[in-house]
Amino acid sequence: MRVLITGMGGELGTRVSNLLEADDSVTEILGMDLFPPRRRIFRSEFHRVEPTDRRKAVRLVRDFDPEVILHVGIFEPHSRTNPDEARRSTAASAVSVLGAAAKCGSLRQIIVRSGLEVYGRRRGAPTRPDESVVPDPTSPFGVSLGHVEQVATEAGQLAGVPVTLMRLAPIVGPSIPSPLGRYLRLPAVGVDPISELPFSLLHQEDACQAMYSAIGRDHDGPLNIVGPGAVTATQTVLMGRRIPVPVFGPGWIFAAAASELLGAPLPPHSRELLIRGCTADGTLGSEVLGLEPRSTHEVVEQLYRWEDVAHPIQTVSGASS
């Protein structure tokens, strides 16, 4: 099986490619990203491609003729790029790679990283949406993810292959560059104790396992990937022994500015999560993929534990070292 991974340079992309390298049924792995892989890769082939370099991306995809595409190349605002660049790169990457893949004769499945942000948190929106709820994004990142889903669905229809839309809960972990994780680790954290609603989080390892497990399942449609339980922002801050600073209404403008000065800019979708919450029903995702993600409480505890990252490294022969 030939697998193409976009976003291989990110934490998720590198880890997913390591998982694929240990799978004997995967014969060839081609990765592309703006940044080089964050860990050692063994038998994957990596190409550095600017997301806006459509010609190079299209040529690579057509020459490789993938059977499965794992589109992990989603740029979260303030994760590693600024919001404008993140939006442009996410859109350009999706259009060029998925558009080219739609015309590849061997393509069998498209798997796309999306997020719960596509559901939006408009007033009166369902608190814990399942996959049947129509997306109605209310943040720029949610809109960006919605566009990627749309492009992937169109590409899937054109190629006549199933498209698995992986709506991952906000990902945090000890090493992933996440604006939410950075914000929650500040010594004093702005929260709205009166208005806040609960949110769910996903550990980076569970996100990678979910992306990897989706290969070959041929699920056509969205899957919510979210563990059990939820926490409020105040509760999270208290669990991490930080100082919760009450912030109300326009005070968030100052809180966002202060956190940016401290090196943890707060994008609109993270602010929305802290106030309006963000959860979903992950029953279908767990059933289809056979996964039980960690609970949100466990994810929060690990976020504040500052653990060393020590993934077992797979060699070419599959043995751990």
């Binding site: 369902p126 608190t127 609603l197 609960p198 339980g229 208290l238």
Partner: protein
């Protein structure tokens, strides 16, 4: 003897322990916002506020999702009364439908089990095995007549094959005494089809009305 056992014997110790737990963030909040710890802290207030008597508590489902359809007159006390009775009788929480999605009222009521008035919200709760309290419309003029039931909301019960349990509440908004009667689950209409939810709503409404007729005192001035 453990320190916790000693603390339990000291007046106010449980409240102090709860405060300590909350200061550390060591409490649970579910996806819809229910905070069982906060409910437990507020429980002495509810106990002082209402004197409740219940009939048919054994008909409350011990596990799994169910819809409890209840009448209301003004509608301020009824959700709290029902939630407390069910908590006392079965140890389960009632997720009362109809919370406004406006801060700070909405988030505050969600801490005590309130949920939004949406069919997909109710279906999600039932799939998760929760008890959903579905109020009928208000009838301020007469306490002898039950209000209407929104048919679409019962589609969630039909979709998840959850039992629909009628509950009659008798009491006064400013009074202390409330009487709660829990009925047998309403039988689903045979055959299903598009009219199933409407027929189920009608049968449920009639069941609550009958129970209310029997439960109301005969004295006209009450």
């Amino acid at each position: 003897m453990s320190l916790d056992a000693v603390r339990r014997g000291v007046p106010g110790a449980s409240l102090a322990m709860a405060a300590q737990r909350r200061a550390r963030g060591g409490y649970l909040v579910d996806e819809w916002g229910l905070d069982p710890d906060l409910v437990a802290i507020a429980d002495p207030f509810f106990a002082a506020r209402w004197d409740l008597s219940v009939e048919g508590a054994e008909r409350l489902p011990a596990v799994g999702g169910a819809v409890l359809v209840f009448n209301r007159r003004i509608g301020i006390s009824e959700p709290w009364v029902l939630a407390r009775v069910v908590r006392q009788a079965s140890g389960r929480f009632v997720r009362t439908v109809g919370v406004p999605d406006i801060a700070p009222v909405g988030p505050a009521l969600r801490r005590f089990g309130g949920v939004l008035d949406r069919t997909d919200e109710i279906a999600g709760l039932l799939r998760a095995g929760q008890l959903v309290g579905l109020p009928m419309s208000r009838d301020i003029r007469s306490r002898e007549r039950v209000g209407q039931l929104t048919v679409e909301r019962l589609e969630a019960a039909i979709e998840t094959l959850s039992p629909v349990v009628p509950v009659a509440l008798v009491g006064r908004e400013v009074g202390r005494s409330w009487r709660i009667v829990v009925g047998e689950p309403v039988a689903y209409p045979a055959g299903g089809g598009p009219l199933a939810a409407a027929e189920l709503a009608e049968a449920t409404r009639e069941a609550v009305q009958e129970m209310l007729d029997e439960a109301l005192p005969t004295a006209w001035w009450f």
